[in-house]
């Protein structure tokens, strides 16, 4: 983009955060537990896992729907929609946004959700195949766009409303799309992120059949081992991570607390395989994200890795990071938080990005837990010793989805003197 056009671009601030996760139902609980190296992976108790090779998952446990929703609401809100509303409530309160009707008309709701519809549909279709009756609620409850729609309805936002489904990269693309909308002046603010639940009997069995899940049922907290030589797969989870994004002008006008800014986003595809990652694809999207942020590889202080703990993801991601960052890759801390929170599919990228934002705020990195045995093909600095102090000015967050949809986001400390005056 030439210099003449840059003056019309807006910087995009992060002014509110909300989290519902297996480590707790608030940003504070999530971050405290993550820094402590705790695991939210447990033996599944909510449904029968007898026929499944895997019997562990990362459930949101300290959550009782009846405390937050009426009986009628719980019937009409899937688990993903409920978690989305809870996280968005925290994010909006945190942001201090108090929108007039006119402002609400420009507030976008762009959410990533991908698997929650499958899990929500199971009880309905169980009834249908048992007795032939189909509830009129099936479609409005299970559609993957329901979490986004329910946020718009509940909070009165009338700007663009959509769900982005790109499997495990859904919420990275949702955040990236919102970033572009604000950057190019099409939106003033957005509620974005992801909400999803991958935990139901049939869905878990399906993932297990694909041989992607850890089968270390006897040791749930230590089952998911990103970058470890003895890793045996991911652990399914659930949760919601919601961010309030707004233009620098909007944030400064209302004297909002600014956590940081989104400075880069790239989206690209492997164009290769439905389940296997491609190193050139992963490297390419990281390079594009750096270019989008106008940064060089050595500007990045920290990488939040996709790190699912599958054999292929972790070694391919490591190779791609080395390709992009060269010999200095070993000097950049790389953390995978899925060992602690599992893989919440559509919500995972948003939870990961929120952890990056908190690292910017506190200059602290969470550890990668459960790295037991070094893998010669995973030879970067994975912060295995526990939380680590680190000055973070620019952090990259990677998301690589089944089907080859890749996203990389860059978040940066907000330095007001860099502003061109928007």
């Amino acid at each position: 983009m030439d210099e003449n056009h840059k003056q019309y671009l807006h910087r995009v601030m992060i002014t509110g955060l909300g989290v519902v996760s297996p480590l707790g139902c608030s940003v504070t609980d999530f971050w405290t537990e993550l820094l402590q190296g705790r695991s939210g992976v447990r033996t599944i108790t909510n449904f029968d896992t007898a026929k499944c090779r895997t019997r562990i998952g990362a459930e949101v446990i300290d959550y009782d729907a009846r405390r937050h929703f009426s009986r009628k609401e719980t019937q009409r809100l899937s688990r993903s929609s409920q978690l989305a509303i809870l996280a968005a409530t925290e994010a909006l309160e945190d942001s201090g946004l108090n929108l007039t009707a006119a402002e609400s008309s420009k507030m976008g709701v762009i959410i990533g959700s991908s698997i929650g519809g499958f899990t929500a549909s199971e009880p309905f279709f169980r009834t249908y195949f048992d007795d032939g009756s189909a509830s009129p609620l099936i479609i409005p409850v299970v559609m993957n766009s329901a979490p986004a729609s329910n946020l718009s309805i509940r909070f009165g936002f009338k700007g663009p409303l959509m769900n982005i489904d790109a499997a495990c990269a859904s919420s990275a693309h949702a955040i990236g799309y919102s970033f572009h909308q604000i950057k190019f002046g099409l939106l003033e603010a957005a509620v974005t992120g992801g909400a999803d639940s991958a935990l139901s009997q049939g869905v878990m069995h399906a993932w297990s059949s694909l041989r992607t899940l850890s089968e270390r049922n006897e040791d749930p907290a230590r089952a998911c081992r990103p970058f470890s030589l003895d890793r045996d797969g991911m652990v399914l989870g659930e949760g919601a991570g919601i961010l309030v994004l707004e233009s620098e002008r909007s944030a400064l006008n209302r004297k909002a607390k600014i956590y940081g800014e989104i400075t880069g986003y790239a989206a690209a595809s492997d164009s290769y395989h439905l389940t296997k990652p491609s190193e050139p694809g992963l490297a390419g999207v990281m390079r594009d994200a750096l270019a989008s942020a106008s940064l060089l590889p050595n500007d990045i202080d920290y990488i939040a890795a996709h790190a699912t703990a599958t054999l292929w993801n972790d070694k391919t991601e490591t190779a791609a990071i080395k390709d992009v960052f060269g010999p200095s890759a070993v000097e950049i801390p790389v953390v995978g938080i899925k060992g602690a929170i599992g893989h919440s599919i559509g919500a995972s990228s948003a939870l990961q990005l929120i952890s990056c934002v908190l690292s910017l705020r506190d200059n602290l990195l969470p550890p990668t837990i459960n790295v037991n045995i070094p893998d010669p093909e995973c030879d970067l600095d994975y912060v295995t010793e526990g939380k680590r102090p680190r000055n973070v000015t620019h952090a990259m967050s990677n998301s690589f989805a089944f089907g080859g949809s890749n996203a990389s986001l860059v978040v940066s400390r907000y330095l007001s003197h860099l502003s061109s005056g928007n």
Partner: protein, 91 residues
Amino acid sequence: MKPNHHAESNMTREELIERVKETIAKETNISFSGVHLDTRLEDVNIDSLDMIEVALALEKTFNITIVTTELLRFQTFGDVIEELQRKLSSE
């Protein structure tokens, strides 16, 4: 196959109103004590999705069929009663 006889067709209007109230209250978990014939269903928090479930329950209770165009015309409690009475008396 259609049954030859409907016990419901011999009901008085008052009995019909009570049975419909019971059916709707059971289906929606909404108290129907203060509801009159001219009460708008929306005003007692029964929306279009609830009405689909209510119609299903009424079909079972009274052994009738409510087609979609009829369902869409139900605005007040009285609309439901009039339609049911018409259906039951034409049997």
